[in-house]
Amino acid sequence: MALELPENIVVSKLDELASWCRKNSLWPMPFATACCGIELMATGASKHDLARFGAEVFRFSPRQCDLMIVAGRVVMKMLPVLQRIWLQMHEPKWCISMGACASTGGVFDTYAVVQGIDRFIPVDMYVPGCPPRPEQLIQAIIDLQDKIQREGTINGREFNTQNRQATKRALIGDFEGVSLDASRNPLIQRRFIDRTSGNQPVFGTGEIV
């Protein structure tokens, strides 16, 4: 005895409905520290029009945001600020690391610049480029929307799984007994063997670099 439903009624799960709502109304927190911030502004402006994807409401209070876009290099004096803002944001929340500097430190391999924010806060999406074009950032937001739809649960269980954490933990210290510092970890070093000479690359003197 099948139930006759009109065409304008869709049956779904509550998790999927919540994810569908969330992904189409992301409220970005613009953590813009450098030239990537200019591209971020361009993305929000009329030409590229982030409003088409429901993410145009940039808020400067972390309490009102659920998507942190880190655009630009983060120096060690700024990182505690970044972490505090991230902790002030409510769940569910996501983070986009925009550009080479936020993702890896970029060309700024100096004492003052953090070599990738994913060492210290969780990152969901990385945008390559120096700086990335607005189209790339929009692509990252679309991909993040897919991810939210795919993984989202109404009580945020997906944020607690260790698996989701494992691939983007800090590159120093130990993770489950395995050293993640490249200079001390033979597993990581094996991946970087020089293919022409077969020599082990030099990773420095064991100091954290």
Partner: protein
Amino acid sequence: MTSTSSPINDVLESLLGRFGPLTTSTFRGQTRVVVQPDALFEVLSFLKDSGFDLLVDVTSVDYLEYRGAPHRYGMVYLLASTETGQRLTLRVFLDDPNPCVPSVVSLWEGANWLEREVWDLFGIRFEGHPDLRRLVMPEEFTAHPLRKDYPMQGRGERHNFPIITRDHS
């Protein structure tokens, strides 16, 4: 372009007359005077009264492993005269340990942050400075990163932060 009767030469003459033989040199119209650390404050005070009333900059150079350099640090004081537009560079050379010069905040209030920056990045102390704290680096930083013996990539300070996971929030 040098003229013997320009005001800067008058100032230099009276400076040499008062403080004895000082090393001076001129390059493309820019005059430089080298003074000893203990005479620095009096020389700057004298120059301020002689018309060089604007302190443009205070900065420093680390000459570690510089070819032929007899001293480790070189302080640079850039002065200008707001009346004549002329400029004068003052150099002081310092050595380890405890490189130290008198503070000139009592002459120019604007030297406050300039000296704090030099202390922060080069570790040169300024005797008599009212508030000698770090300016650009975080307070808990211990090194002076513009010294040439400080490694470019630091000593791990940039990795010394708590790691925030999803479980923290």
